[in-house]
Symmetry: C2
Subunit: 191 residues, 2 copies
């Protein structure tokens, strides 16, 4: 359903759970960057009213998650740290086309795949955790990631033909899988 | 209470109300930029937990306002347009100090003054409008701007002495008033 071409490397979940504070800090930054990306899409495509409305709602939801994960960090007595480069996202964006309208198509497909990968990884964390507050947190967030994946694709189909979306999603899912296979097993949502 | 050193130029409210669509479009962008600024403060000061928490809540509230004003634009059959340069904000930021910790103090004081000016201008619009949905909208938003002004100052007092905050607020309020006196009367929240 998520259209991913590979699973995360074996050992990622164990590495992630070995440093939960680092994982949660990275996760907070992911939620923040998702909200920022939504705002930058509004900046770039202000005249596309459906996109603007969905990106406002999306940014709001990502900030709610940000607040949830921050509360969880606070309970653990951990302060946020500065974000470090996200090579997964940067390498995905390296393949994005620069000229409109394909720039928009690629932005939406990249956003969809990032959500899909988050969803897959939340499931791995849920499966590996024995229960408790953190498992509940991930359990609560996981369905949103799947919904966001579908939302970005349906937004793409508003502005591009189903065939164009399908073809580029197939291509980009292969690129995404190639990147994921090379990621080190680290306590980061993507890496 | 808002510590502003001058009123908006006579004629601003009339110019603003003469092109309500343009005013609302500018207003949407102000809400969006306020949310973006909150996220960039989180990026810059992740270890300051109180700031992070307040900036998440602030960004959430600004996005709620964004959605309200977008709904209002949609009802008027108006699509958002690309944002244009905000010379008021840019000129305010020209006076901000670049080195920490004073960079943070100035960022908080500039944010406070922008909120104060928005509050003053909402009141001018409320006074000039005969009633109806738009007046209700501004009436609903106005108290938030006053609250945000107080929030940014109280945040400043968390990280700086009351005297430092007071002195810089006085200085910056003079700068702000000098800028406002030179602004053309345009259908923009700031100009």
């Amino acid at each position: 359903m998520l259209r991913l071409k590979c699973e995360s490397n074996a050992g990622w979940a164990a590495a992630a759970l070995a440093d939960l504070d680092a994982l949660l800090i990275d996760h907070v930054h992911c939620e923040k960057k998702a909200a920022s990306t939504a705002l930058s899409l509004i900046n770039r495509y202000p005249e596309k009213t459906l996109l603007v409305e969905q990106m406002i709602a999306h940014a709001q939801e990502e900030l709610e998650h940000f607040a949830l994960v921050m509360a969880c960090l606070k309970e653990r007595g951990v302060a946020l740290r500065r974000d470090s480069a996200d090579s997964y996202v940067n390498r995905l964006l390296d393949h994005a086309r620069r000229d409109e309208p394909l720039r928009l198509l690629d932005a939406l497909i990249v956003a969809a795949l990032i959500e899909a990968r988050s969803c897959e990884r939340f499931q791995l964390l849920i499966d590996a955790l024995p229960g408790g507050a953190l498992r509940d947190l991930f359990d609560g967030l996981m369905p949103s990631e799947a919904r966001h994946f579908a939302m970005f694709l349906s937004l793409a189909r508003e502005y591009f033909s189903p065939d164009e979306v399908e073809k580029r999603l197939e291509e980009y899912a292969v690129i995404e899988a190639d990147i994921v296979r090379t990621l080190p097993n680290e306590p980061r949502m993507h890496g």
